[in-house]
């Protein structure tokens, strides 16, 4: 043990506060999963009947599974509006699919999401049409380049490697995979589509550019700190937000395949949150935190001076630019002009009547229709999640 390690040990022991409460057995008991009580058969004469019933049930289940795998869509579960215990104001939501979803992007005529470590292609109204298994607990991030689906995962027990995988679309067949070691991500690796034929993977302090054909590494960009957000602009700008306590957005210009030059550093008013950078045609949206949370929009011409700042009570916010609107989701709902930052409707606070926290995001747009992952958390646990169809107020579509 070095002197420094010993000092860290003393520091932690001395300055970690003591709780004013303790955990009791009844507290723990409330956390136990509810178990179904099954009654045992009392006489042997029921055994053949039970066995027959089991055989029939199994046959039915097998037939059902076979049927669902072939043509029939996965049943849409009851996440209809009455089952959403939230006040959405003038917004409306209807259930599409239940599951434990984390990501949501649109791809072609489908939605791509992750449910329990499975990559899913969902066609609204038809259910899950293709799926692929992902490594367990690997913090997946997904992107679609118009031809293939890209998934970056972080293998926590595997030597801190980020794996980039390419899946075919629409079948989601694994085609190629490459192991990268860019550094440990704060909340998971970030993957996005960059210049034509290039995929960008951000993790830790590095952004790795990978050629989409053979997955070879074209270049590695080292940032000033951990990357929390990445955004690519088609004219060759790469924006990286993060660097933890440095509170900056770095603006890079692409100078060649996998090669970037730092153009400017834009000071921020607080640490950007993970996944917090989104570009529109004319500017950059950023979610940051300094005492309170702020959703900011700044034009590319003047990134240092935001044209619009929306103060928020929460960091659970996502922004999606699609169809001429910036859609603001999370524990709030709103919409804005994506190129000026001007709000088109007042921000609506999603109020949960159960005492839990409800989040509507990320949001994806497919054929002009909005979809969102609805998640409900209670005491740090996920109560339910579902994909819902969102109907925004008509003012959101105005110019």
């Amino acid at each position: 043990v070095t002197v420094e390690e010993q000092k860290v040990r003393e520091l932690l022991q001395q300055f970690t506060p003591y709780p004013t409460t303790t955990v009791s057995v009844p507290d723990v008991e409330q956390r136990l999963p509810v178990r179904r009580v099954t009654r045992r058969a009392t006489t042997r004469r029921w055994t053949p009947l039970i066995a027959a019933a089991v055989v029939v049930a199994l046959a039915g289940t097998v037939a059902l599974i076979a049927h669902s795998r072939t043509s029939a869509p996965r049943p849409v579960h009851g996440v209809s509006p009455p089952a959403l215990p939230v006040d959405l104001g003038s917004w409306r939501a209807t259930g599409v699919l239940s599951g434990e979803f984390e990501e949501l992007i649109s791809a072609g005529s489908s939605l791509l999401t992750v449910d329990n470590d499975r990559l899913l292609r969902v066609v609204p109204g038809h259910g899950v049409r293709a799926s692929a298994q992902l490594p367990r607990d690997s913090w997946p991030s997904i992107a679609f380049d118009g031809h293939n689906v890209w998934v970056a995962v972080y293998l926590q027990g595997g030597g801190q490697a980020v794996i980039l995988r390419r899946y075919s679309y629409p079948a989601l067949t694994l085609q190629r995979s490459v192991t990268l070691r860019p550094g440990e991500p704060r909340f998971g690796p970030l993957v996005l589509v960059g210049a034509p034929g290039e995929i960008l993977v951000g993790s830790g302090e590095k952004v790795v550019t990978v050629r989409s054909t053979d997955l070879s590494t074209l270049g590695t960009l080292t940032l000033d700190g951990d990357v929390n957000g990445l955004a690519w602009r088609e004219d060759g700008h790469l924006y990286a937000a993060g660097p933890g306590e440095h509170n900056v957005v770095e603006d890079y210009t692409r100078t060649g395949p996998g090669s970037y030059t730092l153009r400017r550093t834009v000071p921020g008013a607080g640490p950007p949150l993970a996944g917090s950078l989104v570009v529109s045609d004319r500017g950059l949206w950023e979610i940051s935190q300094f005492n309170s949370y702020n959703l900011k929009f700044a034009s590319f011409a003047d990134l240092a001076h935001p044209a619009a700042v929306v103060p928020m009570d929460t960091g659970d916010v996502t922004v999606t630019v699609a169809g001429g609107t910036a859609w603001i989701g999370g524990t709030i709902l709103g919409c804005a002009n994506p190129d000026t930052g001007r709000l088109r409707t007042p921000i609506h606070q999603v109020v949960d009547h159960t005492g839990a926290t409800s989040v509507l995001g990320p949001i994806a747009s497919l054929h002009g229709q909005l979809y969102a992952v609805y998640s409900q958390y209670k005491k740090a646990r996920t109560v339910q999640t579902a994909i819902v169809k969102l109907q925004p107020p008509s003012a959101c579509r105005s110019k």
Partner: protein
């Protein structure tokens, strides 16, 4: 449901150290309570197969780390707790003002670490586990623990609030 024999005593004995570890991981008492309760709830059904106290403690720690990393992933909206104000704490150090400042520095420093590094710091230097036991609790290799610890220490070294304490005369 009746708690298995010895479980109540275990909860009473381990609650405080587990909560303190939970606070270092999450920076928040209610989240720390959630973590500890969920870890203990995972141990309850298996209690009879955890006969010795160190084994049970190791199991609960492992559950706690697993829950911590899993739930972070679920809520990866990226909220980073900084500049938090917590008025409900009891301080045991003599110089309360300095203690508060140091505690806030510690909380910010821990929050600035990626989750795995945070977990390694807590297990290695707060719970005082060996590298092997830390690796077992996190389900990773000893090499990964060393690497996480080294990076975390390097990062903590650069933070203004902790710099003097680590490089100079100590806490």
């Amino acid at each position: 449901m009746t708690a298995p024999a010895g479980f109540k005593e275990f909860v009473e004995e381990c609650s405080t150290p587990l909560l303190r570890a939970g606070w270092l991981l999450t920076g928040d008492w209610s989240a720390a309570e959630d973590l500890v309760q969920m870890a203990l709830a995972a141990a309850w059904p298996r209690w009879d197969s955890l006969p010795e106290r160190p084994v049970a403690y190791a199991y609960v720690r492992r559950c706690m780390m697993s829950v911590f990393l899993r739930e972070l992933r679920r809520k990866r909206s990226g909220e980073i707790p900084v500049h938090l104000v917590d008025s409900q704490l009891a301080y045991r150090d003599a110089d309360e003002t300095a203690g508060v400042e140091m505690r806030e520095s510690l909380r910010s420093a821990m929050a600035s670490l990626p989750p795995r590094q945070r977990a390694v710091i807590v297990l290695r230097y707060f719970v005082d586990l060996t590298e092997q036991d830390t690796a077992a609790a996190l389900g990773c290799s000893v090499g990964a623990v060393k690497s996480h610890a080294s990076r975390a220490l390097s990062r903590l070294r650069g933070l203004p609030g902790l710099h003097e304490s680590l490089m100079g005369g100590g806490g």
